[in-house]
Symmetry: C2
Subunit: 322 residues, 2 copies
């Protein structure tokens, strides 16, 4: 089985590739080769048991997608995207990568006339307030950001290309990924990871919202697990509604902090400083608090069921010494 | 007020233009000029009180949309589309006109840097079975045709361009239009109009489905009324969910025939011959039977409330002598 990953320099794309190198198989088949594509050259992975090809390329440019699918990868994980903040400030760039880039990839596969499994990463940003406390499987998509609109368009295209038999697509509607390793960024959601990650590293973190704020999370480890599951499930069982809301954990910020206290002690938990930020509070109010993920669960997708697990996964995966 | 209509040679575009000529005003303002654009040159309308420009052009071609919006029409009715049957058989043509064409128009308006009211015609084809008997205002879009996917993408783009302030868009999710004047076509839905239109003209008609089949209708007259209402409503009242399910009438084929009997007598109603067609029955089973149109109704959109009205509107509008 050959595998292509777009956005392979991104956090989730990278972790998926590392896992692939570690386990050497996917969807019950041995991995024969991996192409890691991104706008920047993805750093190499050490000790690979199969050939890895790195490609620094822009999917929005003509001919690029054709080259990536020329060796007919049987599994294509499409995570390449402009993130929500940038898609909102740079309208053209967002549509260029998030919509045109997806269309170019889908068209290249269609024109190559074979039928790989295509895993498309979508987001809870396809939902815009007002919505119920738990967003049902049949709740409609009302994005309130360009990023959300672009992901919703991707979901529609994925379903239509699959229905027409051009490929076999599965959409994965990811929860907010927490704990993200690395440094804080300027995304409005950045604090959700910061308030866990920084204290675990002995650093202070700022909490800009009240402890009562509730949101929907899964760990990077679960996200990678979703991709592996999406690679192997029988497409017939999914039916025409190709995108699945992934399971996640609905917790409040207060519960996250209590969990940190349990996992790492009072001293670390006390490194969180409350500094309310009206702008961030307003943005976060428009975000989903929980989703019904019954379909995905029935299809064998699994996520953490308490936040201690999410913190412990981060400590293990990032090899943090407490 | 200048007005631009795309798809002006189509049945609804044409009827809207004729009404505009008859009433001479829209959204409380006098019409100063009308551009009728279509892939074929729209036939002229007699006795116009304001200048009408005809444009035979393809919105999918570069530069065309820019030319159409160069004189800054304050109201743009976008009905140009490849219909569902053709969009299903010619995948590229459908996306080219129904998605790229819409994007070209939207981008041309954005680049012209003014903020017209854009009325986008969507369709109940954005919904795909299974769905509830009455499709709620928050039911999700799960098109099962390329046409439906293309219209759903148009709805998402309309909302995002409006949210960003590039124009002021209103999406109009039309019921099946009945009675369509003219000749039967090869659309699976063609019989809904045929079984009324042909008998009224003293001709025989074939009914390929059981009398119990239920569907969702509005007359061409109501559709034109929706466009006029969409031109004038306060966009602020619509909020970020820019597409509205239009009111319609949910009736069974049996009720339609009884209505024909009341309006035109037994002799005409007996011109309908039952000839079940399994293919058409299967297609029709996947169609919406009724929609909740509460939002549109609250905003003053109105449709027929019984099928006799729909038949009488057809008899009047098409000047049929019984």
């Amino acid at each position: 089985m050959k595998v292509l990953v777009t956005g392979a320099a991104g956090m989730l794309g990278r972790k998926f590739c590392e896992k692939l190198v570690a386990v050497r198989s996917i969807a019950g088949k041995e991995v024969e080769g991996l192409t890691m594509a991104d706008i920047v050259d993805p750093p190499p992975i050490a000790g690979t048991p199969f050939p890895i090809q790195s490609a620094a390329c822009d999917l929005a440019e003509p001919g690029v997608a054709e080259e990536l699918v020329a060796h007919r990868p049987g599994i294509i994980l499409h995570t390449a995207a402009i993130v929500s903040g940038e898609a909102e400030t740079d309208f053209d760039k967002g549509y260029s990568i998030n919509v045109d880039g997806a269309i170019n990839l889908f068209e290249a596969i269609r024109n190559a006339e074979y039928r790989p499994r295509v895993i498309f990463t979508s987001s809870i940003a396809v939902f815009g307030a007002p919505f119920p406390e738990v967003i049902g499987e049949e709740f409609f998509l009302t994005p309130l950001t360009s990023y959300g609109a672009q992901k919703a368009i991707g979901e529609l295209l994925l379903a239509d290309y699959t229905r027409k038999g051009f490929f076999d697509g599965i959409g994965i509607r990811l929860p907010t990924i927490c704990v993200r390793p690395g440094k804080p960024n300027r995304a409005a959601s950045s604090f959700f990871s910061s308030i866990i990650r920084e204290p675990l590293n002995g650093q202070e973190a700022v909490l800009p919202v009240p402890d009562t704020v509730r949101h929907w999370f899964a760990s990077p480890r679960s996200a990678v697990g979703f991709f592996f599951r999406a690679a192997e499930i029988d497409g017939q069982l999914v039916g025409p509604r190709r995108t699945l809301s992934m399971p996640g954990l609905s917790v409040t910020v207060g519960e996250m902090i209590e969990s940190l206290r349990r996992c790492a002690g009072d001293e670390r938990a006390n490194l969180i400083h409350r500094s309310p930020d009206a702008t961030i509070m307003r943005i976060v109010e428009g975000w989903a608090q929980a989703l019904d993920a019954s379909r995905a669960k029935q299809l064998g997708f699994e996520a953490e069921t308490d936040f201690d697990e999410i913190i412990r996964a981060h400590i293990e995966d990032e090899q943090i010494k407490l």
